[in-house]
């Protein structure tokens, strides 16, 4: 039995490779994800190990808030300068250095643009002298207040050199400095992990990066000879008391690395998501292939039964085939995954500005994941065909059984049930009734919906395929092709369903993002009463900012009625972390954003007062006169009194603090500015004047409202393109499925093709017939996908109605493109089978018995 299975497997190499390819791709994503995160993780370990190389013990202050805002890092309070002296007095300490190092030092390059970063921080530091790790490559250390040293990677990115006069943006607006030196690192490296560094003199670094003198970000300690690091750590901790976090260099390095690795798990999830899509589509493909193989082998299997094989042996033989395919696919997928993982790691290293990659290794998770997923998917998909094979009666070996068209009742009922389950899950998940498992419920709902629709597809396929095929009926090969595609509804259905999944996902995502975009623009369009907007496109983790002085100057321009600069940050408000905003002019709320007061006065705001939205007021039981303690990222805790409540609105912050509080925000500069003109003033006249004011704020520009809205929604477009490209993979797999189905159909119908050729069907006509069959199947799949995707997308949009996504946009043009793509996919998929069909030897096809 075993040998018979292997032989039949070898005899069907091609079709098994085709269906196995889907598994290969899925497994590739799974193992690629693990290889990528493993490689990057080890690279980060190495980076931080390097960065803390000379540090035996590190001292920092306890963070004022557990987690900060934009990057999710803890925002630590500064360490008072006198701590350095206190540490120096601890026995066993050899050397103590006060270090300033904070993200947000942005160099304006020689082209006048800010050097941006896609991930690694842009550190502003104090120069603490050369060490084993850091060396001056050129020039000297900074001595005067307007002198800086930049690291080599930043010098290259900004195209600046020693002696250049450059602008630097920090907590304060642009200031000019002279570059007096360029630093590098041991081993000839330009940067550690792609981090850009600007090193000031210590007082300047304290002022610009911490906003206060006499403080450090952290203090590093080296141990005297013979003193163990952890011993010293405990001694320093004991000397300083509970307000400080004291760790060994190795501990800090491990913690910092762990934080970044958490960020990486996001990549991992994305890749695993695509793996799931690939494998779902692959499951359809394998199910179909094995079904067809079993159907073709009916006689052979019956013969085996007739000569004494038991049902279990038949199931075993089919499952064994699946195991062999799964194993092979897993091995290939694992290999490809290692390659993809390495490639992505390389790309990531480059984008992030020169991360030194650790060697590629294959973590056990990648191997286990690859074989687990590959084998399980293949075997599960082959199980149904295997069961069917075991039900073939031995007598089938003797008769020429025309496989009767089994009724579709059972499969339709099952499909309806599964679809209903999926819809229920979606309803629960999207409606927020799923408790803590919203995401799992929604994903489960989508999965069930796909499987359910796939089961319903055979029923739908008859009328739809007939209708679609009608287009081709004027042409006899077209008519024959159409009839062929309607011949085996199950096969057509599964093949089309595989294509449906990819297209439905693309359509669904497009519906959601387009609706979001339209809702946001609509909202901004309708409600922002500002003719001009200052803002920039955010490229990294930090939003672009500008000099607050611009706001006052702009307000003084002729034709300008009101200027509102917006600040924002996450803060600890009472006992909850909440987004807080501040406006340079509190009138912005009512005049520009159209806020309506529900209690108190929202048109003025004292330095100790705060405004809250009606939602926040309701959920926390606040009313005018309530007092709330607020802890900002970079300020002492302070209690504010609620002086007004406004109606909640997507445009308005949940909590509004006075503009003086913005100095305590992580980014104490405005991130957007709204300019309302006096009646009759022309935006085109005011715009160039504001532009002039922004000369020293290169991260932002001023634009009319429409341009600003476009700018703000552009990231959504980019996101959409990215998702579409990745989901194309699912469509590619589906193409393999169509090729597979057609190739098998051609094989099955050899005699029929021979006959058609014998009665005069030309080669081109034969190819046309196969192509029409493919196009009908693929367009059917595309239509299904567009329908299901619109449905899913509309459901999500409906669920997000309360979040402000009020417009449902059905992307007709994109949907049309999808159907067009479906047709194209069909034509492409038909090429190989069509050529094979056209090459069929007429005599061989009809004469053999």
């Amino acid at each position: 039995m075993f040998r018979a299975t292997l032989k039949s497997l070898l005899a069907r190499k091609l079709r098994l490779i085709l269906s196995g390819l889907a598994v290969v791709l899925g497994v590739m994503f799974v193992s690629g994800a693990f290889v990528l995160t493993d490689t990057l993780g080890r690279s980060f370990d190495a980076v931080f190990a390097d960065a803390y190389e000379g540090v035996d013990v590190n001292v920092s202050a306890k963070p004022t808030m557990e987690v900060g805002d934009f990057e999710g890092e803890a925002v630590a309070a500064p360490v008072p300068a006198e701590t350095v002296e206190r540490i120096q007095g601890v026995p066993g300490v050899a050397d103590v250095t006060g270090v300033v190092a904070a993200d947000g030092a942005r160099l304006i390059g020689s082209n006048g643009k800010v050097v941006t970063s896609f991930g690694p921080p842009q550190l502003g530091m104090n120069w603490v002298g050369a060490s084993d790790l850091v060396q001056l490559r050129e020039g000297r250390e900074p001595q005067a207040d307007d002198e800086i040293v930049v690291n080599a990677s930043l010098a290259k990115a900004g195209r600046v050199a020693v002696g250049d006069r450059v602008g630097v943006l920090t907590l304060e607006p642009k200031r000019e400095f002279t570059i007096v030196g360029i630093s590098g690192y041991s081993g000839g490296r330009d940067s550690i992990g792609g981090v850009n560094e600007i090193m000031f003199t210590t007082p300047v670094a304290q002022q610009l990066m911490l906003g206060q003198g006499d403080a450090y970000t952290n203090v590093t300690v080296t141990a005297a000879d013979g003193v163990a690091n952890d011993r010293l750590r405990d001694d320093v901790a004991a000397a300083l008391g509970a307000d400080f976090e004291v760790k060994t260099g190795a501990e800090v390095s491990a913690d910092a690395s762990a934080t970044l690795k958490d960020g990486l798990s996001f990549f991992n999830r994305i890749l695993l998501g695509f793996a799931a899509v690939a494998l779902l589509v692959g499951t359809f493909l394998i199910l179909n292939t094995f079904s067809i193989i079993v159907a073709q082998r009916t006689r052979e299997l019956a013969l085996m039964r007739a000569v004494g094989a038991g049902r279990r042996q038949i199931i075993g033989s089919v499952v064994l085939e699946a195991v062999a395919v799964g194993l092979l696919a897993s091995v290939l997928g694992l290999g490809a995954g290692v390659g993809i993982g390495a490639l992505l790691a390389y790309v990531f290293g480059n984008i992030s500005g020169g991360l030194d990659l650790a060697g590629i290794a294959v973590p056990p998770a990648a191997v286990i994941g690859a074989f687990g997923v590959g084998l399980i998917i293949t075997v599960v998909a082959a199980l149904l065909p295997a069961l069917r094979a075991s039900r073939i009666p031995p007598i089938a070996a003797m008769q020429d059984v025309a496989t009767p068209d089994r009724p579709l009742t059972k499969v339709t009922v099952a499909g309806a049930a599964v679809t209903a389950t999926g819809a229920t899950l979606l309803f629960l998940g999207l409606g927020g009734h799923a408790g803590g498992n919203t995401l799992v419920t929604i994903l489960g709902g989508v999965l069930f919906a796909f499987i359910g629709v796939a089961l319903l597809t055979p029923l739908v396929s008859r009328p739809v395929v007939a209708l679609l095929g009608g287009i081709f009926s004027w042409w006899i090969p077209g008519k024959l092709g159409r009839l062929n595609s309607g011949r085996n509804p199950r096969r057509t259905a599964i093949t089309a369903a595989a294509l449906m999944v990819g297209i439905a996902l693309v359509t669904g995502v497009t519906v959601i993002l387009d609706s979001t975009k339209s809702s946001i623009s609509g909202l901004a369009q309708d409600q922002i009463k500002a003719e001009l907007v200052i803002g920039g496109a955010q490229t990294g983790p930090r939003p672009p900012t500008f000099d607050p002085a611009v706001l006052e100057k702009a307000a003084a321009l002729p034709g300008v009625a009101l200027v509102g600069g917006a600040y924002g940050d996450l803060a600890q408000v009472g006992d909850e972390r909440t987004w807080v905003g501040a406006n340079s002019d509190v009138l912005t709320l009512t005049q520009i954003f159209g806020a309506r007061a529900t209690a108190g006065d929202i048109s003025r705001l004292g330095p100790d007062q705060m405004l809250v939205s009606s939602d926040v007021a309701a959920s926390r039981g606040l009313s005018v006169g309530s007092t709330v303690p607020v802890q900002l990222a970079r300020a002492e805790a302070k209690t504010y009194t609620v002086s007004g409540i406004y109606e909640s609105d997507e445009l308005l912050d949940p909590v509004t603090l006075p503009v003086t509080a913005a100095q305590g925000f992580t980014i104490p500069q405005p991130i957007a500015g709204f300019i309302q003109l006096t009646p009759g003033a022309e935006p085109a006249d005011v715009l160039p004047r504001v532009e002039t004011l922004l000369a020293d704020s290169p991260e932002v520009s001023v634009a009319d409202r429409e341009t600003f809205i476009e700018q703000q929604t552009k990231p959504l477009d980019d996101l959409l393109r990215m998702i579409q490209i990745l989901l194309l993979l699912a469509i590619v797999i589906a193409v393999l499925g169509i090729i597979n189905t057609l190739a098998l159909s051609v094989l099955e119908r050899t005699r029929e093709l021979g006959l058609l050729r014998a009665i005069g069907l030309g080669r081109a006509q034969t190819m046309g017939m196969i192509t029409v069959e493919a196009v009908v199947i693929s367009v059917f799949g595309a239509l299904l996908g567009v329908a299901v995707g619109s449905g899913l997308g509309a459901a999500v949009v409906e669920a997000l109605h309360d979040e402000g996504i009020t417009d449902l946009v059905l992307p007709w043009a994109d949907m049309g493109t999808m159907v067009g793509l479906g047709a194209l996919v069909g034509v492409l998929a038909a090429v190989i089978p069509a050529v094979r069909a056209a090459r069929i030897d007429v005599l061989g096809a009809i004469a053999h018995d």
Partner: protein
Amino acid sequence: MTATVGRQAQAAARASEVWKVYGSGEAQVVALRGVTCEFEQSRFTAIMGPSGSGKSTLMHCLAGLDSVTRGTVSIGETTVTGLGDAGLTKLRRDQVGFIFQQFNLLPTLTAKENILLPLSIAGRKPDPAWFDTVIETVGLQDRLDHRPAQLSGGQQQRVACARALVSRPQVIFADEPTGNLDSRAGAEVLKFLRNSVREHGQTIVMVTHDPTAAAYADRVVFLADGQIVSELIEPTAETVLDTMKKLDSQVEVGD
């Protein structure tokens, strides 16, 4: 070129000095050894011979389904030998019809669609009067909208016959047309084939190993060992059987 003009019965298909050799070296099989034969128009010719005699090969070569190793084959005024795929396709559309042992109907099409298929493929309109005649002759008037699966074997073969006839080809090649039918259905099909020759002047070449079937033909050509060894005009089942017996004994002696 037109040496046929003066003849009483013009040849619808002709084989001259046709050799067919399969394989090479040790495995070489010579299927036809210089066969020369003419099939007159409006005649019903049967090709007979023991299995392995080359009768099917001869028919395949005549119909342009198989190439010849040496010699030439022509149908009407078309020289089949040397035609490319496009030429062969055109030949099959316009000049040749086929009837197979396995009926070979398209399961997705109705009887009527199957019958009209060759014309549809060629992009020609059927002659309505001729179509009605054919349908009437084969007796399928009330079965036209049925699919092959709903028809009996005999009915399916009659559909196949109608399909071959409807385009009025120069010659119809029938390969064991009764091989899959019971004797009554077989007799019906054979009568119908003979009538189409007598009444409508159709040319039919039929390969068979059944003497009863061969007796419906106007002429029987006997093949043995790749050569034409005998011929009967106006055969009966008995004369055919006798000739076959003689051939068998010759072959045995030859061995």
